[in-house]
């Protein structure tokens, strides 16, 4: 069935006609799910939703016909749930998603979708829900299965996750890092707007690491298991990527704009601080993890001290070298005056190079 662009001429008042048409529309989506429109009720809002849907179907038809790879999104159909119950079409509906029409998102082309959820979003939803079951089941596939069931899906949905528990842990880490980046950006905004004082570097780093580590507190009992999952060989690239992005974010908002080897030394130092503090935290039993924050404070002080010491050593070294050069020049000049027959001009020229 092919629609022309003149869909405006379609009179969408007869819902029975609509229904018949709708059931004939099968659209293969990128995820391979076959969804159908469920039309029900007489709410005109739904009518306009469906109308938009048909517009998109028509455009998709044309787009696929002309094999253009432009920004036409796949039509988004799903079971439209209203306050009422679903109609008889649910018998035909093979919808695999229990989507609610409140997921406002932007699909890959950037256009506002019709409450259509991609597989990545579904996975994200399941994993986020699975975090609630982690204290009970640990960082395992059971937690994901339990979450899938609460969302109304079968526990076999865990088959979607090739990496199992690794997916769950990595999702959590990514979520925490995103939250941290948001917080830091917000703080940065405040400082830019003059509403807050800029913190000193040491304090900023301490607060950032503390904020990030506090996100682990609800899961601290099972966190060693998560850490060991992150250390599995097939998870190491991803976990390192997350770690390095997080450290880069923290230093960026701390004001680091270095473009030399300091870029690397600073990030390496902060990675070391973060990892060791994390390890201290998992075996810390003090109230509100006071010992952890004290440890963090000391480590940051150490790094700052080392940086200052390095600067001092460099300055002293330069001064010493200058002094030695001056002494050497003086000595050679004296020798030249005393022993004019000796040719020490070449030595002087060589020393002169280093001025």
């Amino acid at each position: 069935m092919i629609f022309g662009i003149k869909e405006k001429s379609i009179i969408l008042t007869n819902f029975d006609v609509l229904f018949a048409i709708a059931t004939n529309i099968h659209v293969r989506l990128k995820t391979g799910f076959v969804l159908q429109v469920a039309v029900q009720g007489t709410v005109s809002l739904q009518c306009s939703n469906v109308r938009r849907g048909f517009h998109r179907a028509a455009l998709l038809r044309l787009a696929s016909d002309s094999k253009s790879d432009t920004s036409v999104p796949p039509p988004s159909y799903h079971e439209v749930h209203t306050a009422g119950e679903s109609s008889s079409s649910s018998a035909q509906g093979e919808s695999s998603e229990d989507a609610q029409p409140n997921t406002s998102f932007q699909d890959q082309s950037g256009e506002h979708g019709e409450d259509y959820e991609t597989e990545e979003q579904l996975q994200a939803r399941i994993l986020t829900a699975a975090l609630e079951f982690v204290p009970q089941h640990g960082w395992t596939v059971e937690a994901i299965a339990a979450a899938a069931e609460t969302l109304g899906l079968s526990s076999a949905s865990t088959g979607m996750f090739n990496n199992g528990a690794g997916d769950l842990v990595l999702h959590f880490v990514a979520q925490c890092n995103a939250q941290l980046a948001e917080t830091l950006a917000e703080q940065n905004n405040q400082v830019q707007l003059g509403q807050a004082e800029a913190k000193k570097t040491a304090e900023f780093l301490k607060d950032a690491v503390e904020t990030r580590l506090r996100m682990l507190i609800p899961y601290i009992d099972t966190w060693p298991q998560a850490m060991s999952i992150l250390l599995l060989p097939h998870n190491i690239p991803d976990s390192l990527k997350h770690l390095s992005t997080m450290v880069d974010d923290i230093w960026y908002y701390a004001g680091d704009r270095s473009t030399d080897v300091n870029w690397y030394t600073r990030r390496a130092a902060l990675t070391g601080i973060y990892n060791t503090t994390e390890l201290v935290m998992v075996q810390d039993s003090s109230p509100d993890f006071e010992e952890t924050w004290a440890f963090l404070d000391n480590r940051i002080k150490d790094v700052v001290n080392m940086a200052n010491t390095a600067k001092q050593v460099q300055a002293t070294g330069e001064a010493v070298v200058q002094g030695l050069m001056g002494a050497a020049i003086t000595v050679t000049t004296q020798k030249m005056i005393q022993f004019p027959e000796r040719n020490i001009l070449s030595t002087k020229r060589l020393l002169g190079l280093l001025f």
């Binding site: 473009t259 080897v261 690397y264």
Partner: protein, 222 residues
Amino acid sequence: MHRFVRPQLMLRDSKQPLLPRAGHLCTNHKSVVSSVRGYVVLPPTSDEEEKAMLHRMMRVDHAGEYGANRIYAGQMAVLGRTQISPLIQEMWDQEKQHLRKFNEILAENRVRPTLLLPLWNIAGFALGAGSALLGKEGAMACTVAVEESISEHYNSQIRTLMEKDPEKYTELLQLIKEFRDDEMEHHDTGLEHDAESVPGYQLMKAIIQVGCKAAIYISERL
């Protein structure tokens, strides 16, 4: 009689009209990070591959300017009290300006600098000082070789960007063309000042250019 052999290059004077410097923002991108001057050099992009490519280009360009900076520093260290020193100083100042610009771009766009910067620090200084010990002609020969390599490299970058999307990369292309023109100027200056009269000129030039190519290759990846 010296034979001037210039490598095949694109037009020195680009026929592209200069864009107004202030207030020109890409309108087809979502968010814009602008420098103090109000225009962006790297177009903001959400495509990971494109971002990686742009970052790699900026990384290697930054490493190149850093190395060139150190080469001139080495040359000045040896020849700093001779007649050629004002000329070398002038070329060095231009390289410093280039380096400053790339530092800005790297900082703004959160591009990682190459890990081998300390190596280029030492190698560049050693090359500059070593070539200058052969005298003023040696220094000029080194300049010619290095600037030729850098110009070729900038030209290939310009070609890549033009092939992809000249419209999108207008500011970046303008910047690279400007720097490429400066480097060509240095190259010509070197030739004018008796670069070719150093003994072993061809051999020296070949060795230096191989070294530059290797440096560019490694810096792109590391």
